[in-house]
Amino acid sequence: MPRKKEKAALGKPAQFGPDLDLSAYTREAKAVAPCPIGKLPKDMLKRAAQVGIGPEKDRAGTYFQVNHSTVFQNVRDALRGKVEIMSTKDAMEKYGWLRDYWWKTVAATADKYTALAEEKWDRGYFMRILPNQQVVLPLQACLFISQENLDQNVHNVIIAEPGSQAQIITGCTVHPNVGRGLHVGISEFYIKKNAKLTFTMIHNWAEGVDVRPRTGAFVEDGATFISNYVCMAPVKSLQMYPAAYCNGSDSRARFNALLYGSKDSLLDVGSRVVLSGKNSRGEVLSRVIATDNSKVYARGRLVGEHKESRAHLECRGLLLSDTALIHSIPELIGKVEGTELSHEAAVGKISEEEVEYLMARGFSEDEATALIVRGFMDIEIFGLPDALKEEIKHIVETTTKKAL
């Protein structure tokens, strides 16, 4: 029985990243009462804004979870019947069929973190965009930890029904007083026929927080899944290796990541695309900066399982300190003749030639360096819609500026 297997998996370290002692974190969370987002304490709202969580009026719908409590879940009136947002606990009660979407793209027995999320499940969000609905304003979800050393295990399910289009921002962060904690986030995506989903996740943790997201996406015929990930602030350890399965013909998956490793952070972040559909396409792009004593492992794996499939992986790393490390690990696995997989990776320090070029235009050395670093973290690679682009750009630039 699965229960037994999951129990056993609780002792199974993940393939990558430092192994964590799950008993070191607190499970008991004080309940937080539901309230409108605007009524949340100012310091919490400030942190949420730093991970892209905006006022409800600027969003199609909002889910806000603090520790283990859902404090807000709502879709704006005009979109009722078009979009659904609620906690996965509520969704599980409401929709029996949700079981069909539970632990299907990620195995509950994958490692101790998935097993933990199965055994001790602390809600998470359910978002569903109904068939043929094209939602222009972004949907948003915030997963917040406000209690010291808490273990928060969320399980999210996102379903883009056939022909639908939407964009989601998820911001995960902690209260400024929180120093330690564990966040485990299971996210399962179902991008159905001809649907398009752009998912942008921004993380802003603390120096003592461990983070273990586990993500899987099924991409059907003609569907597109774009996943953007931004992590600019220090974290104790963050390990994730999301996978998109392009099973459908003409399916597309694209992963973009901006990672800024600083202080003693350990980031082990990658993306996998499995191409099993005819004419499926994949792309993995990452920009990594490592400074101070940070260590960043930038992984990528493309698996070509259909003879008419193609994917490209690109990783660029910039080292700003001699005590930092960037380890780029691109993997291409071709299983059938005809699949076209490629990669390019480059890791280096800031080029003196580029700095001098900008200095010749009048920038000081520090200004030139900052401009190059900000440029390196250019979110244009995400291909976001304009409204969202400016917002995310602002977040990235503010955090880069602060880090520099």
Binding site: A360, S364, E367, I372, E380
Partner: protein, 239 residues
Amino acid sequence: MLKVTNLSVEVAGKQILKNVNLEIPRGEVHVLFGPNGSGKSSLISTILGLARFKVTRGKITFKGKDITHTPINERAKLGIGIAFQNPPAIRGVKLRDVLQAYSTGNGLVGLTRRLNVPMEFLGRDLNLGFSGGEMKRSEVLQVIAQNPDFLMLDEPDSGVDVENLEIIGKAANDFLRHKSGLLITHMGHILRYVEADRAHVMLNGRIACSGSPKETLELILKRGYKECEKCLGRRKKQP
């Protein structure tokens, strides 16, 4: 405006400029000829202040100030500007970022039109995937927007087609009417558009001779740099 006195320079321990003397008075535009590897680009790189070019002897003064060891951006602020021959591609840094930061702003729109630089081009990553013509136009746009008192153009006529050469040549010439400058050219094509006051020929890290731009170019085109070497050899033999 610019005075280079007894300048010797080395790169990675190898001497590349030997006892160079050059004076460009205010309001004059000089042109520097010379075969590949003769030291032309090294001279302007040293005037610009690039770190690889170590001054081992001599000095550079600009507007009466010794700038031999002044940082590049300070030189830029004093009024030295350059259009590079092979500028580096810088991902994510837009042409607009550079123009907004240090251009004086005056007439920028007119300048972009004049140089046939569409507004959307300003949103592109600096020098990334630029064609030869785009590269040159972008360089000339940036440096003119900076409004330097002394403009250096490093081989503005290499790797560029006739139409683009005319565009940048005319724009540079108009700008130089009230400024000083130093052009590097290999074949002299830019001189069809830019009026120069004096020419110098560089050979083996030295300024071998100086004269009128027209006559010097004619001589080079007719007899090649070999003749210059002979001439230099003859001069060496003289007591």
